[in-house]
Symmetry: C2
Subunit: 163 residues, 2 copies
Amino acid sequence: LDDLKRIEALMNQAAKAARTNIVASVFQPFEPHGVTGVVVVEESHLSIHTWPEHGYAAVDFFTCGESVPEMAHRVLSEGLKAERAEVIFVDRGMTLNGTSGPSMRMRSHSTEHFAQQALAREIELAHAPQSVHAAANGHSAHNGHNGSSNGASSTVIMAAPRS
Amino acid sequence: LDDLKRIEALMNQAAKAARTNIVASVFQPFEPHGVTGVVVVEESHLSIHTWPEHGYAAVDFFTCGESVPEMAHRVLSEGLKAERAEVIFVDRGMTLNGTSGPSMRMRSHSTEHFAQQALAREIELAHAPQSVHAAANGHSAHNGHNGSSNGASSTVIMAAPRS
């Protein structure tokens, strides 16, 4: 979580896995620890902020159109060897198709536990058009649960329609 | 909402108003309309995606520490002359201080209506440590409600603790 080049590579890999088209990528070290980074894509953006001292990463996937943010989640949670992923989906721009009512909605909030060596310990995830549970199905069990967990990472998926 | 230079200036102004320190700024035109942009700050990031054909902008403020994302919301909603702002606050990284329970929480979801000439029509906003209602108090009534509204814009504020 403190390896800027590794995080940047993972985030760009995640953007490609989500079938988004990368426009720009900005990654910077956090002070005193951690990485902050954004991948701007034609379909919106992916961002990450890490707290290695807490084993925690907060990741947002904001996508629209035909993108598959669940694949970005899979790449990140596998690449960071997350032990736990907390995921929220937030619908955005729900009124763009002419309907009334709220424009935003928290569609789901779930927690995934992975039986793999922990680098990051928790993941949050917010908003996408399909169920995020599909993203967790690809995780295979590795070498058992690491009992020394004391941190968290986080992912957020967001999506909006694109006319 | 289709004026890239204006949107970039507003977002940088918003970042400064929120008392964040700007690290990098990436703005690109959306196809066929609109702007996508991210301001990377030491305290995390601000992002915007606009749909001028719908009078809609989706804005996220992800901040930590002593930042004041409500001020960024004020700058944006005033600068875009929003007619309506839909706002959600999402707490992030709630377990970083050693507490148990969920790491994310939707703290509030509210809608603000502004009596001003509409450029953008709706705002979503997600997550900050203080109440977002403070951000709306600074809006003064202008020249009455624009009856021709048919779109939306959006802002999201998010915040995480910073050790």
